[in-house]
């Protein structure tokens, strides 16, 4: 009983691979359009847009040119 409640509390589900594969297109659609994951992508884009040069490969080039 408590084990069942704990699983429900944690959001774990008992399912088999056949059920999952039958819904694979819906699952992929949810993954690709996920607001949660897309927010993570947006955060990464913002993070990398703020990176400042010189980058390591530019430093290597400068060393070779010197």
């Amino acid at each position: 009983m408590s084990a069942t409640m704990e699983k429900q509390k944690m959001g774990s589900e008992e399912f088999n691979i056949e059920d999952i594969l039958a819904e694979r297109e819906k699952i992929f659609e949810a993954i690709i359009n996920s607001p949660f994951l897309n927010k993570k992508h947006q955060e990464a884009d913002e993070y990398f847009s703020k990176l400042e040069p010189p980058f390591p490969w530019e430093k290597e080039s400068l060393c070779k040119d010197a």
Binding site: E6, K7, M10, G11, S12, E13, E14, F15, I17, I20, L21, E23, R24, K26, I27, F28, E29, A30, I31, I32, S34, F36, L37, N38, K40, H41, A44, D45, E46, Y47, F48, S49, K50, L51, E52, P53, F55, P56, W57, E58
Partner: protein
């Protein structure tokens, strides 16, 4: 890599993946999304893609994704090894792509009230460095700067690209 991984499934274009985590709390569906970062600054590394993943749950409105931190399924090394394998497959199919990913917030850190990220990806990279460094270049980003990846250092985000 010699770490055990889960079987994963992917879309034809390789931008969506899922696999099933099996641990002490049962089976949990994990979804992985890979998308381009159009505004990322380092021209040299373009195209740059980001890898993000979370738990997929079925609701009355269909499937939804949220943070994996809650799962605590006791199989995190296998999950991370699977995600790394997915990253390697993506890069093998997109040989000019750079892939970025972020450290993973584990449930113990949050339970202790620490908003710190345990860089589990880095543990995998560091422990397999001699093998991974043969085929990939790695960079680490922290405090708005990017540097060559150094084993043992902690970064906010990691970049990887096939040589």
């Amino acid at each position: 890599m010699d770490r055990e991984t889960y079987t994963f499934y992917t879309t034809a274009d390789g931008v969506g993946y899922f696999f099933i985590s099996e641990g002490s709390r049962g089976k949990i569906l994990k979804g992985v999304s890979i998308k381009p970062l159009p505004n990322a600054a380092p021209d040299f590394l373009r195209p740059i893609y980001n890898l993000a993943f979370g738990d997929a749950r079925k609701t009355t409105n269909g499937w939804t994704l949220d943070h994996s931190v809650r799962s605590g399924n006791g199989d995190m090394p296998r999950i991370i090894a699977t995600v790394v394998q997915i990253a390697m497959e993506f890069m093998a199919q997109n040989t000019r792509a750079t892939l970025s990913f972020q450290g993973y917030a584990d449930i113990k850190s949050l339970a202790l009230g620490k908003n710190q990220r345990t860089i589990l990806y880095q543990r995998v990279i560091d422990s397999h460095w001699s093998e991974l460094a043969v085929n990939c270049n790695f960079w680490g980003a922290k405090n708005n700067e990017v540097a060559e990846y150094t084993v043992g250092n902690q970064y906010e985000r990691i970049l990887a690209r096939l040589k």
